[in-house]
């Protein structure tokens, strides 16, 4: 019990003792859980409200995810985009889980406009 409590205290204090570089490395090295990330993405954090349930149809699109995990977590915790809510109080592990889920979504090349009849019809009306 004492060991567990001590571990918890160390876990809480340790990050604050890290240098910025160390903290970044520690975030970068987190291993995300895809299933947990999916739940967080769709239900808890409601990322789908803007980015679509699969990250493909919303704005901005999240797939393909071009950020590194550390960069993603840093951005989500303190976004530079005005419309994006900050998730600064979320533990890095939760955000690493979300990152893992987004990365797990297969990157698909969408069909061309010309190959989708209803969009091709629209294309023909553009002068």
């Amino acid at each position: 019990m004492k060991v567990a409590a001590l571990s918890l205290i160390v876990a809480m204090i340790l990050p604050s003792m890290m240098t910025g570089r160390q903290a970044q490395d520690s975030v970068a090295n987190l291993t995300g859980n895809v299933e947990r990330g999916k739940t967080l993405f769709t239900a808890a954090f409601k990322c789908a409200s803007c980015h679509g349930t699969t990250g493909e149809s919303g704005s901005p699109r999240l797939v393909p995810m071009r950020r590194t995990q550390a960069d993603f977590i840093r951005f989500v915790q303190k976004p530079t985009a005005n419309a994006m809510p900050a998730f600064g109080d979320q533990p890095p592990q939760a955000l690493a889980d979300v990152y893992a889920y987004i990365k797990s979504i297969p990157e698909r090349t969408p069909p061309s406009v010309q190959s989708i009849p209803v969009l091709n019809d629209v294309l023909k009306t553009i002068p």
Binding site: A43, A44, F45, K46, A48, S49, C50, G52, T53, T54, E56, S57, G58, S59, R61, A83, P85, A86, F87, G88, D89, Q90, P110, P111, S112, V113, I116, P117, V118, L119, D121, V122, L123, T125, I126, P127
Partner: protein, 641 residues
């Protein structure tokens, strides 16, 4: 369609005689009858103690309905005063009156359906006064003229107030008639009476009056109609004493109806218009940015003429704008990323503050032609910031366009024409690039479920492309996909958003748009959010009951999704976690079955459609019903944004 009642036999001979006499009398009165005081005298202002209803009426030579009936039996010439009110309303080119019934206007109600034969105006039965107002709002935009709503004192007016407010913010006319029992005799109708009934909606009506005599009713009704339709337009309100409606007229010939003369809308000062033309013709990179300009198809044509004459880009403004310029026109847009306007012409923009600031900082000029200068509003902050433009013209833009175009045409030299054409070619290239890029974006998530908004709109567009269609809902909840994917190539394609940015407009106003389109051969469609639909589902019944054909496509993302992110942001700003942001913002558990709701109101409906490949067939089936003349609904489970 007409709801004629078979109750006319009760008032048979006398009413028919009156109809005959009234027709002759009204024609004569409209032309040259001198003003006379009405036999129905005004109710006295309450000073010490209110008289009883019977005493008050007796003072005016009127009587309670029962007493009036007794009097009527004594003289066949005595007729309901509300019949005269209908005579007045029939001079105002009102096709419809939307009501949720109320005893404070039961006299007028009875006269409309019996004496007026439920024609011009024809009564629409609404399940809520807000729906009556919203239907009227959509109708006025599509029909180019107002309709009337009739509401009960206080309670009915309060219910209607939100719809009136939206029309006010959208600068749309609507004739609101409020029945008012000024001498309530019971605890039930006392709360329905007020010292100043018009005050309830005065902050978002252009003009109001209370009619306590028939002469005053006639004049006020014509005034209300005239003021409401004169730019800047807006709802007008007429309070009508219920005792006056129920009173009897002994001498119809003493009443007259003022002739309706619509004033020409205000045009811009000649010298100011010349200066605007000079600035625009001498500009290297002019930009036209527009709000609610094209009130009529003529305005739409004038906008195209102006843009093509100058070869200047036309930016159709924010969500508040009507679609006043074809979105596929090569000059639609801001001219491209590199285009820096040196002269910006704002047409019917109530706020050019930022544009003016930016222009000044860059050495550019701004011009504003706007009717808003003629009415700065009241309590509601919808009139925008003060705009430090270089040239301000207080006028109706559509009415001013012919003189502006004429002056521009006069100033254009062959050399300028050549330069303009070169400019136009660059703008056209930018337009093509921008629109093509937007279309590329529509491909992403094409086959996901829930269905993407872009796919939902594109599939709808494909199904109606061979119809003469008209979309009755706004686009504030579908991003910009309607403008990207639908071809707004005619004035009647799109009627803009709600005006006041309040939820509850799309479903209800679309019924009004469809009503205006009925019989014109146009197919009306509406993309309505699930949140919006829940503000006025009863409108579906009104559409079914009156056989108003339109397709409701429900953009069902099961929540107020725009709010989810806003609440999340607040949660995160306060460091309390975002996990609870769904509370109060989402609509599930249980999911709402809009198909059953619509079916319950008598519509053909299907859904929820979750598979994007099944959307087109569902739309086809529903549109078969709509083209046959009835409303239909398709519930689509959609992406949030």
């Amino acid at each position: 369609m007409s709801e004629r009642s078979g109750k006319s036999k009760n008032t048979g001979v006398g009413r028919r005689r009156f109809l005959k006499g009234a027709a002759v009398g009204a024609a004569a009165l409209v032309t040259n009858t001198p003003a006379e005081s009405a036999p129905a005298l005004p109710l006295p202002r309450l000073s010490v103690a209110p008289p009883t209803e019977a005493a008050a009426l007796a003072e005016m030579g009127l009587a309670l309905p029962a007493q009036a009936a007794a009097q009527a039996s004594a003289t066949v010439a005595a007729v309901p005063a509300s019949d005269f009110m209908v005579d007045v309303l029939k001079t105002l080119d009102l096709d419809y009156v939307a009501v949720n019934p109320g005893s404070a206007f039961d006299g007028l109600h009875e006269s409309l359906i019996n004496y007026g034969q439920n024609k011009k105006p024809e009564m629409l039965t609404c399940l809520h006064e807000e729906q009556a107002a919203a239907i009227s709002h959509g109708y006025a935009k599509a029909a180019g003229k107002p309709m009337m709503i009739a509401v009960h004192g206080t309670v009915g007016l309060l219910h209607a107030s939100f719809g009136i407010f939206q029309a006010w913010c959208d600068r749309v006319p609507m004739l609101v008639v409020v029945g008012h029992n000024r001498n309530p005799t019971s605890n039930i109708n006392r709360p329905h009476s007020a010292q100043d009934m018009g005050a309830i909606a005065r902050d978002y009506t252009k003009w109001d009056d209370e009619a306590t005599t028939l002469d005053r009713f006639a004049e006020a009704a014509v005034k209300a109609y005239t003021y409401g339709r004169t730019p800047p337009m807006g709802p007008t309100l007429l309070v009508v004493d219920s005792a006056l409606q129920d009173s009897r007229i002994s001498d119809r010939s003493r009443l007259r109806i003022p002739a309706l003369t619509m004033p020409a809308p205000p045009q811009g000062d000649t010298n100011a218009v010349k200066e605007a033309a000079r600035l625009l013709v001498n500009a290297q990179t002019p930009l036209i940015t527009i709000g609610k300009v094209a009130r009529t198809p003529k305005g739409w044509d004038l906008m195209i003429e102006l843009a093509e004459l100058l070869q200047a880009p036309v930016f159709v403004g924010t969500y508040g704008s009507w679609q006043d310029f074809p979105n596929r026109h090569k000059l639609n847009g801001r001219g491209g990323a590199a285009y820096r306007p040196d002269v910006t012409l704002g047409l019917e923009l109530n706020d050019m503050a930022a544009a003016a600031r930016n222009a000044r900082a860059g050495g550019g000029k701004t011009i504003s032609i706007c009717a808003e200068y003629l009415s700065q509003g009241r309590n509601i902050h919808d009139y925008g910031n003060y705009s430090e433009v270089d040239l301000a013209i207080a006028a109706d833009a559509e009415a001013t366009l012919p003189s502006l175009i004429e002056e521009i045409r006069r100033l254009i030299t062959p050399e300028k024409r050549t330069a303009f054409d070169a400019r136009g070619a660059k703008i056209a290239a930018a337009h093509h690039e921008e629109r093509t890029k937007q279309l590329e974006e529509a491909r992403f998530g094409w086959d996901v479920s829930p269905i993407s908004i872009q796919r939902m709109i594109a599939e709808l567009g494909a199904q109606i492309k061979n119809d003469d269609w008209s979309i009755g809902s706004g686009h504030q909840f579908t991003g910009d996909w309607q403008r990207v994917l639908l071809n707004f190539d005619k004035h009647h394609r799109y009627w803009g958003d709600c005006g006041g940015f309040g939820i509850g407009y799309d479903t209800q106003a679309a019924v009004g748009v469809a009503l205006a389109n009925k019989g014109t051969g146009r197919l009306t469609v509406a993309v309505v959010g699930d949140g919006d639909l829940n503000f006025g589902p009863g409108t579906l019944w009104t559409a079914a009951h009156h056989k108003i054909p339109l397709l409701f496509l429900v953009h069902n993302n099961r929540g107020y999704q725009a709010e989810v992110m806003i609440v999340q942001r607040m949660c995160s700003q306060r460091g309390r976690g975002t996990e609870n942001a769904h509370i109060g913002t989402t609509l599930n558990n249980p999911d709402i079955d809009y198909t059953k709701i619509a079916q319950g109101y008598g519509l053909y409906a299907e859904g929820p459609v979750t598979d994007p490949n099944k959307l087109a067939p569902a739309l086809q089936r529903a549109l078969v019903r709509v083209r046959a003349g009835e409303p239909a609904l398709v519930d689509v489970i959609s992406q949030a944004r």
